[in-house]
């Protein structure tokens, strides 16, 4: 009995290891392509990207040691190598689970200019309108992210407001019927931007080629 169980377990172990080794390369490549595609989608016109970590004191390129508490972001460049914008991920809990979003930030305009959803488990047909609803997506054409006088935080936190009541450039007009998910998007972007943008602005020259 022990012999049989041992043999079967060994065989199964070998199979799993072979499958893991065999697919690892393709899986990593898939993940990289998916990420690149997501970044290039929120920053139309971008041709290449590089990953960085921003912390309170410095920027470090991907590959070097990551400072504690650092935020990861992607700098995207157009075909001529000019900095097109910066993309970063934000996350907040929505109706069913964490909603992870990717937003694009334009250093010239000091505004968020693009938005995409990385992953979500919101109700199909209701919460997932954040991906398709044209009126909602218009919120991210120019979402104001100017810093306050000290440069330590956003002058106005990004906030989701009830459908049809957006008046300021830093507000997100919620989708009617999907307010919880819309609010999660606002919170996710705000949490990430409040930290990343004040850290990033003093070092912008370092990522400009």
């Amino acid at each position: 009995m022990l012999l049989t169980l041992g043999l079967v377990s060994t065989l199964c172990g070998i199979l799993i290891v072979t499958a893991y080794e065999g697919t690892l390369e393709a899986v990593t490549a898939n993940k990289r392509i998916a990420l690149e595609r997501a970044v290039l989608k929120v920053l139309p016109g971008a041709a290449s990207m590089r990953a960085y970590h921003a912390s309170a004191t410095e920027l470090t390129a991907e590959g070097s040691p990551v400072p504690e508490g650092a935020v990861k972001f992607y700098a995207a460049f157009d075909a001529k190598g000019k900095l097109k914008g910066v993309a970063a991920e934000g996350a907040a809990s929505g109706y069913a689970d964490i909603v992870r979003v990717l937003y694009a930030w334009d250093p010239e305009k000091q505004a968020i200019i693009g938005f995409g959803v990385v992953s979500h488990r919101e109700t199909p047909g209701i919460g997932d309108k954040i991906i398709t609803d044209p009126h909602f997506l218009k919120n991210f054409a120019a979402l104001d992210t100017r810093l306050d006088a000290n440069g330590k935080a956003l002058a106005q936190p990004i906030k989701t407001v009830k459908h049809g009541t957006k008046v300021n450039a830093w507000e997100i007009d919620a989708i009617s019927g999907a307010t919880v998910t819309s609010k999660a998007v606002g919170r996710g972007i705000n949490n990430s931007a409040q930290q990343l943008i004040p850290w990033l602005v003093p070092h912008l020259q370092e990522i400009r080629p």
Partner: protein
């Protein structure tokens, strides 16, 4: 599954067993968890069906090959180990083929391990039959399950999103019937299919009684 005393099935009959007479979804009503959860689109349903079929075939083959060596006391543990192995392999393979499908199917790939169709096949069929026969039966069952999932997924995608395989069918004015994509929609569609199949079976039996 055949009761004692019944004549040996031919290979074709063995294959058709899972597709028609003992269809896992519509006749045995097994594996309902993935059948209701992942069938919100035709692509998801097909991928889930194919993944399950592959696991079914390989585990049936291995279980059948070692059927004479496994002590009776630990057979279930052995079957679970074998099934879990192939599920893990399939899990990696799907992630390597398409991350989108991998994320859409989510935890339900790993949950193939506890899919009662597979363990049921291993225990009731593969452990008592030679490899070729076991594989033929598993292939039939897998295709039957895939057909079942696809019937659910296609109907739910058409009604709930107005699309099939992501291609819009009715133009932009179609107002999707969103409830079909939600869990209740799964039950509605499954119920309707079961009704249809039971009605067809009842009619066939009635016909046989009348003529025979």
């Amino acid at each position: 599954m055949s009761p004692p005393g019944q004549l040996e099935l031919t290979r074709m009959e063995e294959f058709m067993e899972g597709i028609w007479r003992q269809n896992p979804t519509f006749v045995m009503v097994l594996g309902m968890c993935p059948a209701l959860a992942v069938t919100i689109s035709a692509v998801n349903a097909l991928s889930m069906g194919i993944a399950t079929t592959v696991v079914l075939i390989f585990s049936a083959l291995l279980v059948s090959l070692i059927r004479n060596f496994v002590p009776k006391e630990v057979r279930i543990a052995t079957y679970i180990l074998i099934i879990a192995t192939f599920v893990t392999v399939i899990d990696y393979v799907i992630a390597a083929i398409s991350l989108e499908i991998y994320e859409a199917l989510g935890a339900f790939i790993q949950l193939i391990v506890v899919n009662c169709i597979i363990l049921g096949r291993a225990e009731a069929h593969a452990s008592k039959n030679p490899p070729l026969r076991a594989v033929i039966n598993a292939l039939g069952m897998g295709i039957g399950f895939t057909i079942g999932l696809f019937s659910l997924g296609a109907v739910r995608e058409i009604l709930g999103a107005g699309k099939l395989f992501g291609v819009s069918l009715f133009g932009p004015d179609f107002q999707p019937w969103v409830v079909m994509l939600l869990p209740p929609g799964g039950f509605f569609v499954l119920g309707s299919w079961l009704l249809l199949f039971s009605w067809m079976r009842a009619r066939k039996t009635a016909g046989e009684t009348a003529h025979g």
